[in-house]
C-alpha cells in the first residue's frame, strides 16, 4: 500500500467531488458531509465516467401515491444510463449484491504527520499546517 496525497482538505468541500489519477487509475474522491470516499471512476455497467455524474439521493416509496427523497448527497448517478451507486460503499442501488464500484481507502492526515513520509504527492507540496486527503492503494 502506498499513500498518495491527492488534495488539500479544503479543496473538496461537502457535496463536491474531484477526479484524480493514481498509478494509472482514474479515481473519484467524494466529500459527503465532511467524510471522504474514493471510488474507481468507471461505471461497472458500460464504463461511464462516474465523476461526470450527478450526486443525488434516492427516491423511496411505501406504495403508490407516496414518495420521499432519502439519503441526499450519498449517491452518485452515472452520467450515461443513470445507474446509482452508494458513495459510501460503492454498491449499486438497484443490484447491490452483484454489482459494485471498486472502493479505495481514503482518509485525512495532518501535514505534520505526512511530512514524516513516505508518501507520494505528484502535483503539490505538503505543508505542515494543513490537512490533506490521502488515498492508499
Amino acid at each position: 500500500m502506498v499513500k498518495h496525497v491527492v488534495a488539500a482538505r479544503h479543496e473538496i468541500s461537502a457535496g463536491d467531488k474531484k477526479l484524480v489519477q493514481l498509478a494509472g487509475r482514474d479515481i473519484c474522491i467524494f466529500n459527503v458531509d465532511g467524510a471522504f470516499y474514493a471510488l474507481a471512476n468507471r461505471c461497472p455497467h458500460e464504463g461511464g465516467s462516474l465523476c461526470d455524474g450527478q450526486v443525488s439521493g434516492v427516491v423511496r416509496s411505501n406504495g403508490p401515491n407516496d414518495y420521499r427523497i432519502e439519503r441526499k448527497g450519498e449517491f452518485i448517478r452515472c452520467p450515461w444510463h443513470g445507474w446509482e451507486f452508494d458513495i459510501k460503499t460503492g454498491q449499486s442501488w438497484c443490484d447491490p449484491n452483484s454489482m459494485r464500484v471498486r472502493q479505495f481507502d481514503v482518509h485525512v492526515e495532518h501535514g505534520q504527520e505526512l511530512v514524516k513520509g513516505p508518501f507520494l504527492a505528484e502535483t503539490f507540496s505538503v505543508e505542515v499546517e494543513n490537512d490533506y486527503i490521502v488515498v492508499e492503494i
Partner: protein, 370 residues
C-alpha cells in the same frame, strides 16, 4: 468487481480495435438561430412573428420529463454552452475518435419540420435542416453521413426533397418518423417509398417528433417516461406490420427499411405470428405473394441500441440468428442518455466474422459506404 483502467490504456485499446459504423448519431443546433442562414427571409419573418406551431399542446417541450440531463448523456454538454450533440469538436473527441467510428450516420431529430402544422413552413424547415447537416457536419468530417429529413405526411414536398438530395453524396438515407398520422403502409406514403427506391436509399425509421394523433401505446397514453420509452418497440412493430400487410414490398421490391432505436427481439416473434395468421387468412391480403416473414427477413435491418440485455447474455446470439446476422447493425445513440458504448454494450462472445458484420460490414453494405 471493476477493472480499473487508465485513460492511456483505454485510448491505446481503442486504436487497435475494429473500426465501426455507428448507425445512430444525433446532431442538434446550439440554438434555433443556427438554422437561420438556411431559411428564406419569408420564413424568418414567419418564425419571428408567429413561431412554430407543432401538433401537440406543449410547444417547445417534450411530453414526458426525461430523467436527468434532459434525456442526454450528462457528460456530453459542451463547455461553451448549447445542448449535447451541438458541438462537433466534442463529438469527435468524446465519441468518433476514441470509439473508432469509421462512418457515423447522422439522424437529426429536432426542428426538421416533422411536427410542424404549417405545411409550407414545415417544408422550409426540412430543407433548412438538411442544408445545415451538410454544411455544419458532413463538410467538417467525411466520416459523417447525413440522412434526408422529410415531412412524410406531406408526400409531395417529401418527394421533391428526396429527389433534390438523392445524388448528393452527403446523404445516405431518408429519415422518417414512426409517429406518423397513419400507419406507414398506407398509400398516402407510397410516393415517398417510390422516391426512396428510385434513389436507392434506405428509409430509416427512428422515433422522432411528436405523435401524429395516435396515442403512443395501443392501450392509450402512458403515464411515465419509462412506459413511453418502450413504445419505441411497440410502435415499430405496428409500423412493420403495416408495411408488410399493405403490400408495400410487393409494390417496391427494392425498398429497404432500417429500424433504428426500435429494439429488435420482437422481430422474430412478430414474423412467426404473422406467418401463422397468414396461412389461414391470406384471402384478405391477396396482394401478398410471400409469407410475411420473408418480407421481414429481406427488407428490414435493425440497429442495436438500446441493446436488449437478457439475463443470460448468450440469448442475444439466438435472436441475432433468427433475425439474420446480415441484418444487425451497431448503433450508439450518442449523445443521448441511453447511449451504448461499442466496447461494452454487447456482452456476448461472437465469432470474428459475426463481430465484423454487426459492427461494420452490414451497415457498409446497406448504405453503400466505402
Amino acid at each position: 468487481m471493476n477493472a480499473p483502467s487508465g485513460l492511456n490504456a483505454r485510448d491505446m485499446k481503442a486504436a487497435q480495435r475494429l473500426m465501426i459504423v455507428d448507425c445512430d448519431i444525433h446532431p442538434i443546433q446550439s440554438s434555433p438561430a443556427d438554422l437561420k442562414p438556411f431559411l428564406a427571409s419569408r420564413w424568418l419573418e414567419h418564425l419571428a412573428v408567429y413561431g412554430p406551431h407543432v401538433r401537440q399542446g406543449l410547444s417547445e417541450r417534450i411530453m414526458w420529463p426525461r430523467m436527468m440531463a434532459n434525456g442526454q448523456r450528462a457528460d456530453a454538454y459542451p463547455a461553451g454552452g448549447g445542448p449535447p450533440g451541438s458541438d462537433y469538436e466534442l463529438m469527435r473527441r468524446q465519441h468518433l475518435d476514441p470509439n473508432g467510428v469509421e462512418h457515423g450516420m447522422l439522424i437529426a431529430l429536432s426542428k426538421g419540420g416533422m411536427e410542424e402544422r404549417n405545411q409550407d413552413f414545415a417544408a422550409a424547415l426540412m430543407s433548412a435542416v438538411n442544408d445545415w447537416q451538410k454544411e455544419c457536419w458532413v463538410a467538417k468530417d467525411k466520416r459523417l453521413h447525413a440522412g434526408i429529413v422529410i415531412v412524410a405526411d406531406d408526400a409531395a414536398s417529401a418527394v421533391k426533397e428526396i429527389e433534390r438530395r438523392a445524388s448528393d453524396g452527403a446523404f445516405s438515407q431518408i429519415i422518417m418518423a414512426p409517429r406518423s398520422m397513419e400507419p406507414l403502409g398506407r398509400r398516402r406514403y407510397w410516393p415517398v417509398f417510390e422516391a426512396a427506391q428510385a434513389a436507392n436509399m434506405p428509409i430509416c425509421l427512428h422515433p422522432a417528433a411528436v405523435p401524429g394523433g395516435a396515442p403512443s401505446t395501443g392501450a392509450g397514453w402512458p403515464t411515465y417516461y419509462m412506459q413511453e420509452h418502450f413504445t419505441f418497440s411497440t410502435a415499430s412493430e405496428s409500423q412493420a406490420t403495416s408495411l408488410v400487410m399493405e403490400g408495400v414490398f410487393e409494390q417496391f421490391p427494392r425498398l429497404k427499411i432500417a429500424m433504428v432505436e426500435a429494439g429488435f427481439s420482437w422481430a422474430p416473434t412478430l414474423s412467426w405470428r404473422m406467418d401463422r395468421i397468414f396461412e389461414r387468412m391470406r384471402g384478405e391480403v391477396p396482394h401478398l405473394k410471400r409469407k410475411p416473414s420473408e418480407y421481414m427477413r429481406e427488407h428490414f435491418w435493425f440497429a442495436t441500441q438500446p441493446i436488449e440485455e437478457p439475463e443470460n447474455p448468450e440469448d442475444l446470439l439466438q435472436i441475432f440468428e433468427w433475425i439474420g446476422w446480415d441484418r444487425i447493425m451497431f448503433s450508439s445513440d450518442y449523445p443521448h442518455w441511453d447511449f451504448d458504448d461499442p466496447r461494452f454494450a454487447i456482452r456476448v462472445r461472437m465469432s470474428e466474422e459475426q463481430r465484423r458484420k454487426l459492427f461494420r460490414d452490414n451497415a457498409r453494405a446497406l448504405y453503400n459506404l466505402s
